[in-house]
Symmetry: C2
Subunit: 262 residues, 2 copies
DNA sequence: CGGTATTTTGAGTATCGTCAAGGCCAGTGG
DNA sequence: CCACTGGCCTTGACGATACTCAAAATACCG
């Protein structure tokens, strides 16, 4: 996704709402309504987008980059509970504050819609309402997938599950999945520390698990954050049986790989 | 919640929809619509309500008892990803099959609404739509809370987190939380095996963690499934700092305890 | 090319999973 | 009424795994 960034009448950054996949099918008047309240915002890596408990004034859609949703506890330790990628929505549509804070995991840009105006549109358009609801359902699925991964005992299993998730659910996301010489290459979009936080362990254990899988031959660590999937089936095996019918089956994944290869 | 069970004209079980908390405020015509498509269904413990992947024909609201949402993998192992209690809705409102199967963790009864009819009502009533959306958002919050709990390394921490969750989020649920002689008593609604599955560990470890906390003095194991919270602050401490601002603060919890004591 | 942050490796300790055995309770049938 | 049975919970012992702390190696950035 590469949006056209423009200036509106007042000279503020905006962009074409219709280019966002899930909005594309909305009726024109709603699109126009969204367009008129849309602002384009950029965030540098590690920049805070919103604090937990705060009522943010806008509803956002990630356009580029990756955000992390996390809770920072009293001791300053972070627990990451999810990653947001392009197309994901955030910001409570209703009145409650968010329980988690949001930070840019990479440089990122989002489209922001002022919340009151967005809610007005929401109550006017059943189609928009539906898009929002589907988005929330999608997030719910994701959260449950995380739970499945987290409920595995061994770090290696959880890490393999995470890699499988990158291959399937994040397959369409820019710069995560590529093919090079017929091989599937995944770029891990977060640091070891963030990964450890996501998977409920320590960076050292993440590192050991990566290298163990490297020695097993199911992956090849080309760079710390660039992983070649040498044996997808072995990886799926490592991840446990949970994955054979997650959201995308292995065969579907192979198709994606093929498509990428073209 | 103790609903009036009645027979409708055709002699089938039904009950008063208006008695369900979240539906109470709906406009009368929608209530009547819901009423006319509502069936009352009971399930015995461990009875299967729906299999993963299956398109169930109804949308349900738990009226009594507890359901577990789980995934059974190829080896027959179960991973529980959540518990449903009274007031919780289930069954995909949209077209996708559920990824998880649903079973009665205890004897349970649900109100079932035929799905096509429910969706018709949904498209007619913005208020009903809103109720459903809030319910989904609530589930999302729960799933993230589970993730926070699961991302702790030690079993004792996760178990303490689970107990805190029972005390806060499930506080209003029948028969979970009571007071006896000024003390807060929690009844754990699932077996050790289910608990192990929820918390990503083994029954033996759950048992050891319970007894360790018993020896620490923060809880008293009156029965395997009946736990007196002897020192709430110590328990919260054990659960990690994540809990000091979950959804209910400790002080709010103390108020609940007071209310129960009356 | 130097300086800093991140990743990796190593060694020692704590925790957990596993297997096996024992205890408790409820329900059953003599 | 009691012995028997089966399910669940508990306990013990041991090997596997992961966490901690510390230090080295590597990658990153100006």
């Amino acid at each position: 996704m590469a949006l056209n960034i423009k200036k509106d009448n007042a000279g503020r950054n905006t962009c074409s709402v219709a280019e966002i996949g899930q909005f594309a099918s909305l009726p024109e008047d709603i699109l126009n309504g969204l367009q008129s309240i849309c602002r384009y915002r950029s965030f540098r890596q590690d920049q805070v987008i919103s604090e937990a408990g705060e009522h943010i004034g806008f509803v956002g859609v990630v356009e580029k980059g990756i955000l992390r949703m996390q809770k920072t506890d009293v001791e300053g330790r972070q627990h990451i509970v999810g990653l947001l990628v392009e197309g994901d929505m955030f910001g409570r549509v209703f009145n409650r504050p968010m329980q988690f804070s949001l930070e840019a995991a990479t440089d990122a840009s989002v489209m922001a819609f002022s919340r009151p105006a967005f809610e007005t549109l929401l109550s006017e358009s059943r189609e928009l309402d539906r898009v929002v609801m589907l988005n929330i359902l999608n997030e719910l699925d994701r959260a449950r997938d995380w739970m499945l991964i987290l409920s595995n005992a061994k770090v290696k299993t959880r890490l393999a599950g995470f890699l499988m998730m990158l291959c399937t659910r994040f397959a369409d996301v820019d710069h995560i999945l590529r093919t090079s010489g017929g091989k599937l290459v995944v770029s891990v979009p977060v640091s070891r520390a963030d990964l450890a936080s996501l998977l409920g362990t320590r960076p050292e254990s993440i590192s050991r698990a990566f290298h163990a899988m490297n020695d097993d031959g199911c992956i090849v660590l080309k760079q710390p954050d660039l992983i070649e999937i040498a044996d997808l089936e072995a990886l799926a095996d490592e991840a446990g049986e949970d994955f054979f019918d997650m959201n995308l089956s292995l065969s579907a994944l192979v198709q994606i790989v093929r498509k990428k290869a073209i």
